[in-house]
């Protein structure tokens, strides 16, 4: 399928047009449907600026959420990679564990949140643990799959060059599993993020999720939209970072790059 140059420009315009379109619809709606108490984009933006500025109303909650996210995700990465590695290498363990790990994906983990509250209390720890609990599974699943799928021929080449175990890991295992592991890390981040926010929305004393549920007073709608915006920006920014890395790896591994 050839793409003419003109077509490419049209697409780029289109991508940029979408948010502009949304802003326009937003502006019009807030004027037209005033019974929805929808604030104008301008008003919302000024509230956002106030929130992010010096001693803004967003800052302390944002800080708490980011800390919970970072710590929970970090644990998920370290333990997820380790568990994924072990399960990838050991066939028996993997076959026993596989249905458990795959099915946990489908469970609405929020409903297990009270258990975390019991163990960790209402503070940040329970959100950290909850974020960890969400994020670890895609990391395990994808790491496990990547290790299992290492092509035998590459290991044979490694043996023919008499590589020691450390070299085998560094020069063969690591580079050949990197793309899948990266995807797992990205999905793990997304799920950890959801876990942290859900936990904050359900029961918390601080954090963006908590702020979301608590938003009250004169600026209720503006604040909610601001918070949602901040969450979206964090999510998209980190995801694009991961996509950039995955894209660079893609060339080396003979793939075309991300589609859907």
């Amino acid at each position: 399928m050839t793409m003419s140059k003109g077509n490419g420009v049209l697409i780029k315009l289109g991508v940029v047009a979408v948010p502009i379109l949304i802003l326009l619809v937003w502006q019009v709606s807030s004027n037209l449907f005033s019974y929805l108490f929808l604030p104008t984009p301008l008003k919302t933006f000024s509230v956002l600026k106030a929130g992010l500025g010096w001693s803004g109303w967003l800052l302390s909650d944002l800080k708490d959420t980011l800390i919970e996210l970072a710590v929970g995700y970090l644990f998920a990465v370290v333990l997820g990679l380790a568990a994924g590695f072990v399960l990838g290498v050991n066939r028996l363990l993997r076959e026993v564990a596989e249905p458990f790990v795959l099915n946990i994906y489908a469970i609405p983990k929020v409903t297990l949140f009270p258990i975390f509250l019991f163990i960790f209390g209402l503070g940040m720890e329970s959100k950290i643990a909850f974020g960890f609990f969400h994020g670890i599974f895609p990391i395990i699943i994808l790491t496990m799959g990547a290790i299992k799928d290492i092509k035998n021929i590459y290991l044979k080449v490694g043996r023919s060059f008499r590589l020691n175990p450390l070299q085998v890991f560094k020069e063969i295992v690591f580079p050949s599993t990197l793309p899948s592991v990266m995807t797992g890390l990205r999905l793990g981040f997304n799920l950890s993020f959801i876990g942290v926010i859900l936990g904050e929305m359900a029961a918390s004393k601080s954090g963006l999720g908590y702020a979301l549920m608590k938003s009250e007073g004169a600026f209720y709608m503006e604040k909610i939209i601001c918070i949602v915006g901040v969450l979206a920006v964090i999510a998209i920014a980190i995801n694009y970072l991961y996509y950039a890395v995955e894209g660079r790896l893609g060339r080396a591994h003979g793939r075309q790059g991300l589609q859907y």
Partner: protein, 263 residues
């Protein structure tokens, strides 16, 4: 078949072992009763809750386990149906109109990165607490998976030889779509449906948990705050069993569908 048997035994042992440990921990009082109820009592409570008058007295309201279960399941089916109703045609639209697909691609791809639940307070603010908001959340969560997988599914068929076979047989465009594209894309579309259904489950129950008056998710929350831990665990177990059963069945069907087309 010795190995497969060994593995099944191992899996069940893990489950039984964990349940046994939890039972012992709860019974010996290492963890307080108010925090962890013994597994046997949880199962008993779950059983009793489906009988008339099961949990009403303890919870001091008139919701029964069955009523909550059907409420939740109904919301799941509703949100899923709407997600398919709108998602499937949109998916086809994106497949047909590649330019539109490329324009929307970055947004669709980032969709699941954003915590969709953050929109819940807004939705409740507009539609109020109740069936509409919850169903809407389930729908929001499920629809993009269906759109993406439908579009990708038909895209995949495009790359194969089958449509050309249809053309060479001089079939009408509608017939090619119905008799070649649809069957060939079915496994991928089913994956989208499976994901959509799972996401409906998660979306509905999570929303019920956060803010609602009825449903299984709400029941967990409510019994937690009422210190009725047995009922809370019973509801959790019910949710887990439901999710796992649905997921296992859907995964089996999915594997079968892909298996038929295997290379």
């Amino acid at each position: 078949m010795k190995r497969a048997r060994k593995i099944t035994i191992a899996r069940w042992s893990v489950l039984v072992g964990c349940a046994g440990c939890l039972e012992m921990i709860a019974r010996t009082g290492v963890i307080r009763r108010s925090t962890l109820a013994p597994v046997s009592e949880i199962v008993l409570t779950l059983w009793k809750s489906f009988l008339p008058g099961g949990i009403q007295a303890r919870l001091l309201n008139d919701s029964s386990m069955a009523a909550n279960f059907f409420m939740t399941f109904g919301e799941i089916l509703l949100s899923f149906s709407f997600a398919v109703l709108i998602g499937f045609p949109v998916g086809i639209l994106l497949w047909k109109c590649k330019t539109l697909a490329r324009i929307l691609s970055p947004y669709l791809v980032s969709y699941y990165a954003i915590p969709v639940f953050a929109l819940y307070p807004i939705i409740v603010g507009v539609f109020g607490i109740g069936l509409l908001s919850i169903t809407f959340m389930g729908w929001l969560f499920a629809i993009v998976a269906i759109i993406i997988n439908t579009a990708t599914g038909f895209d995949e068929v495009d790359k194969r030889i089958y449509p050309k076979v249809g053309k060479s047989l001089r079939l009408s465009r509608w017939r090619i779509f119905l008799w070649i594209y649809v069957p060939a894309a079915t496994p991928y579309i089913f994956t989208g449906l499976k994901l959509g259904f799972i996401y409906s489950i998660i979306g509905v129950i999570a929303s019920e948990f956060i803010l609602s008056t009825k449903g299984l998710g709400h029941l967990v929350r409510f019994s937690y705050s009422a210190f009725e831990t047995e009922i809370m665990y019973a509801s959790m177990v019910l949710i887990v069993i439901m999710a796992v059963l649905v997921n296992s069945v859907l995964m089996r069907i999915e594997a079968w569908l892909y298996g038929r087309q295997a290379k």
